[in-house]
């Protein structure tokens, strides 16, 4: 945030009236809502004595027809609190807006309201207030907000998508295009040839009507012509030109197909590589599945553009220029007449096509909605059947199908009216040539051959016009695709490796958390000031209600996310300084939802260590109590699992992921609800496997059922993101605090279910 947002004149005067001068202001922030919840300019100013709020309601245009009471424009409300009276200031995120709240002399007070747009700003403001109240100096560092909404440096526009940081207005399509072309130099020769073919093809295209018109009628067929009567030769010439054009076309097409496919292939491989680099939060934001399909779609669109769009465009430009020049040379008056309707045609096409694209895109979207629905219903058919929802699904499909039908009809009606009209328009040029040219021929002002040449050109010039009006759209949508692709290629992973990372090929496994605060979203801290020392080889059980922040704690230790405040040390080194490779290779996770990818069981076990021998894989499976069930499968370790493969049970999946972790052999092990949702016998098997796995490693175990943590050296109890109790099971039971309550509640729940332990 800015330290001092520039005050409006009105605000400066109002503050001055209350004795607050700009020189005394430490922080100035503008909120965009009034306390009544209308858009307004609300200035919140912090001096070393006071927290002052000035609310200026905005001028409103017209009367609200919703019967709200409107204040006079420009009325202001001024409130000031002495900092010593304000106990604490908090930025709170309400569902669809935010407030800066305070406790003043023991009572809660709303200081100001703001929209989500300003949530980060006031989060920082609240922190700054804390510092000022403690009498500390504010440094530039305090104002830094790495995640703050960024503006386009060129035009000042707030980036529409903060994750992308792309200003659509200033997006330089030309340089993007050059960037795409930067993948091309490898294929210099081929591209040179393609271009050569294009020019040659255009030249042949232009000469063809000339040969068939002027040359044929005026020089060969006319008795006084230069080559009168040499029919055979002219036919051979026409044939040869056609053949040559065909050949060139084939060569160009084939070469182009290969080159553009290669370029797009290179692009896609780079994208995939880049995606592996990026952190989790990138994917959280973009939804991996849709990201991958989008990359594919974008790449295909680019390929289409390079394969069809660009060459056709270039050929057309060359051809059209050539034709115009030839026509002018042949007969400039007729040329002018022929080109007269062209602007009108372009104008009308420009009007019609946007409507057509809207229709097409709506059609596309409705169809994909339908596909998604069908897909869901099929993959989820067990759920559908289990809940007896078949009829409802059919009804849902009916509704969507109807939408598709409606848009299909609309598009059909539109196109079948519009296209004939366009054809008629384009026919006008031909009529002009026949009419005016015919008269000229009759009066002897023009030869019949020239007339024929012109009619040939007419067809060639109006045909591509339609295409040319749409190339602009095509081009910008392609550059948008290119942009999205480069965005991934160029994205800086937000868990960035330090410039000189500390290599730690063998970690001991001692972990310290110092004053760690973390939030996924602004003003909603999930962990508050966590302090924790974990010895190497110690097993810690994390306990707490769901949503307490247990998984989050493990996520930040393994640096899937970076913390904003405080630090996490492993063997005394800040995780941010450890080489990411070393960190990842020595932290292993066994999670509740096990990710199995399409492939054999062996491949899945060896995921973190692809070079593992078969014996190693089997040993790991045996330790994980997975060997026996694997051997019961007809294909054993080669059984293909994953989306389209064999369906494993929850417990089996979990044991596979334990085998995976055993093979991975990490120094720090994270078990996040690794034994939930399995039956008692399976749990025993998993427990047994886990107890072998945790030997000699630092382990953080999260378990829903508290008895599962009885092997832990210490238990850490989290509540609403805070560590509230730490100790062994018996210590915590003696304390009769949160842990004890949780334990009692679980026992009670078990008793109710009749399985008291």
């Amino acid at each position: 945030m800015d330290r001092l947002e520039p005050l409006s004149d009105e605000a400066r005067a109002a503050f001055a009236r209350h004795g607050i001068w700009p020189a005394a202001m430490l922080v100035v922030a503008k909120a965009d809502l009034s306390t009544d919840g209308e858009f307004a300019d609300t200035w919140v100013v912090l001096t070393d004595q006071d927290l002052a709020v000035l609310e200026i309601s905005r001028e409103r245009i017209g009367q609200s027809d919703r019967g709200r009471q409107l204040r006079e424009p420009g009325t202001s409300r001024f409130v000031s609190y002495s900092i010593s009276d304000v106990e604490r200031l908090t930025a709170e995120s309400l569902p669809l807006s935010g407030i800066l709240s305070a406790v003043v002399n023991g009572s809660p007070v709303v200081i100001c309201r703001f929209t989500n747009t300003q949530a980060r700003k006031f989060g920082i403001f609240a922190k700054l207030f804390g510092k000022v109240k403690e009498g500390k100096e504010l440094t530039e560092e305090d104002f830094k907000d790495e995640r703050s909404p960024a503006h386009c440096p060129k035009c000042g526009l707030l980036y529409p998508d903060q994750e992308r940081r792309v200003c659509p207005r200033c997006l330089d399509k030309r340089s993007l295009f050059l960037k795409v072309l930067s993948f091309a130099p490898k294929y210099k020769v081929q591209i040179g040839l393609v271009l050569l073919c294009m020019v040659a093809g255009s030249a042949l295209n232009i000469t063809s009507p000339y040969i068939r018109g002027s040359l044929l009628f005026d020089q060969v067929l006319a008795p006084e012509g230069k080559y009168a009567g040499r029919i055979l030769e002219i036919v051979v010439l026409i044939g040869a030109v056609q053949l040559l054009a065909l050949l060139i076309g084939i060569i160009q097409g084939r070469m182009n197909a290969v080159v553009s496919a290669r370029i797009v292939f290179d692009l896609k491989s780079e994208v995939f590589e880049a995606m592996q680099r990026l952190s989790l939060s990138f994917f959280n934001n973009k939804q991996t599945g849709s990201l991958m399909t989008r990359v594919n779609r974008d790449a295909e669109r680019l390929q289409g553009f390079f394969l069809d769009g660009l060459p056709y465009f270039l050929v057309n430009v060359v051809t059209m220029t050539g034709i115009v020049i030839s026509m002018v040379l042949l007969d400039w008056r007729l040329a002018l007449l022929v080109l007269l309707p062209a602007p009108a045609v372009v104008y009308i096409l420009n009007k019609i096509f946007p409507r057509l694209w809207t229709l097409f895109s709506r059609m596309f979207r409705r169809r994909s909605a339908m596909n998604a629905l069908v897909n869901d219903a099929l993959t989820g058919r067990r759920v559908v059947k289990a809940f007896g929802r078949e009829a409802a699904e059919v009804a849902r499909f009916g509704a969507v199908n109807e939408g598709v039908f409606a848009v299909n009809v609309e598009t059909g009606l539109f196109t079948s009216t519009v296209f004939p009209l366009i054809n008629l328009l384009m026919g006008i040029g031909g009529l002009v040539v026949w009419g005016y040219g015919g008269l000229q021929v009759v009066s002897g002002g023009m030869t019949f051959g020239t007339l024929m040449t012109f009619t040939g050109y007419i067809a060639m010039i109006y045909g591509p016009l339609e295409f040319m009006t749409h190339i602009v759209d095509w081009w910008s949508s392609c550059m948008d695709s290119a942009q999205r692709i480069f965005e991934i290629l160029d994205a800086v992973p937000d868990v960035v490796e330090a410039p000189n990372p500390v290599r730690m090929p063998s970690i001991k496994g001692q972990i310290s958390l110092r004053d760690v605060t973390f939030s996924y979203e602004p003003n909603r801290p999930v962990l508050h000031r966590i302090n924790l020392e974990i010895e190497a080889g110690e097993m810690i059980g994390l306990v707490g209600h769901s949503g307490a922040g247990k998984s989050t704690l493990t996520n930040i230790i393994s640096r899937l996310y970076d913390v904003e405040e405080g630090e996490i040390l492993i063997d005394g080194v800040n995780v941010k300084d450890i080489a990411v490779r070393d960190l990842r290779s020595q932290i292993g996770m066994v999670l509740q939802d096990v990710f199995l990818f399409q492939g054999s069981i062996a491949e899945n076990i060896a995921y973190a260590k692809p070079e593992a021998t078969q014996a190693e894989i089997i040993r790991a499976a045996k330790l994980a109590n997975a060997h026996d069930f694997i051997m019961r499968l007809p294909d054993g370790y080669d059984t293909v699992i994953g989306r389209q493969g064999y369906d494993l049970s929850g417990g089996e999946r979990q044991r596979l992921s334990i085998a995976r972790a055993i093979l991975h052999d990490p120094r720090i092990l994270i078990l996040d609800e690794a034994t939930s949702s399995v039956d008692v016998e399976t749990e025993r098997l998993i427990q047994e496997a886990l107890s072998r796995l945790v030997q000699g490693r630092t382990t953080l175990a999260i378990a829903h059922r508290l008895p599962t943590l009885r092997n832990a050296n210490r238990l850490v109890v989290l509540e609403k993101g805070r560590v509230v109790e730490v100790g062994t099971h018996s210590e915590l039971v003696k304390m009769r605090g949160v842990y004890y309550n949780l334990l009692m509640k679980q026992r009670e729940a078990l008793r109710i279910r009749g399985v008291a332990d």
């Binding site: 809502l33 919840g37 307004a40 309400l94 569902p95 009572s107 929209t115 747009t117 948008d480």
Partner: protein, 178 residues
């Protein structure tokens, strides 16, 4: 602040699973000087600040409203706003309106579309506002009939009560974005 209460853990499981519906005749909501809502239930229970949370913000915004204390623990639920007196209901509606800040778009000054983003300049029930909407990603949601919810890049929401009744230029644009 670091004082921690565990009402949920202290109560028995049965109690824990039960929703407490607050009786309108016993509840007294007031707007405090600090701008929050306070609540007293009967003689004994007093809350200096309560927050209201809708259970069905889109489909049924006036029913099943959770009343929470300043720690975020549920005090109870209001079954329906219609069961309160007019003045209390207005108070609750205003508070909800501020929390679920969703200005109604009354007039569209302009919408410009560029490269998958649209830039809106509108008059709303809460004043004039400019915002940017990303194309796709369900940022324009049809809420049954002609009601449309517009979600900008910051997650702010705006509502159009009937998109067919606005300037035909824009209603067609909006339709194409749906």
């Amino acid at each position: 602040m670091d004082r921690i209460t565990h009402p949920a853990t202290r109560r028995s499981l049965d109690e824990y699973a039960q929703i407490r519906y607050l009786d309108p005749s016993e509840c007294c909501f007031k707007k405090t000087e600090g701008g929050f809502l306070s609540l007293s239930i009967g003689e004994k229970e007093q809350y200096e600040r309560v927050d209201l949370v809708r259970a069905f913000p889109l489909s049924d915004s006036d029913s099943y409203i959770s009343v929470r204390d300043s720690e975020g623990n549920e005090i109870g639920m209001l079954e329906s706003l219609s069961r309160f007196s007019d003045s209390t209901r207005r108070l609750l509606e205003e508070e909800l309106g501020r929390r679920y800040f969703t200005p109604v778009i009354e007039k569209i000054r302009s919408i410009e579309e560029e490269f998958g983003y649209s830039y809106w300049d509108v008059d709303t029930s809460a004043g004039q506002r400019r915002f940017t909407v990303r194309r796709g990603h369900n940022n324009l949601v049809q809420l049954g009939g002609r009601r449309v919810l517009v979600i900008d890049v910051d997650g702010n929401r705006f509502e159009i009560e009937d998109y067919t009744s606005i300037d035909s230029r824009y209603s067609r644009l909006i339709e194409s974005l749906l």
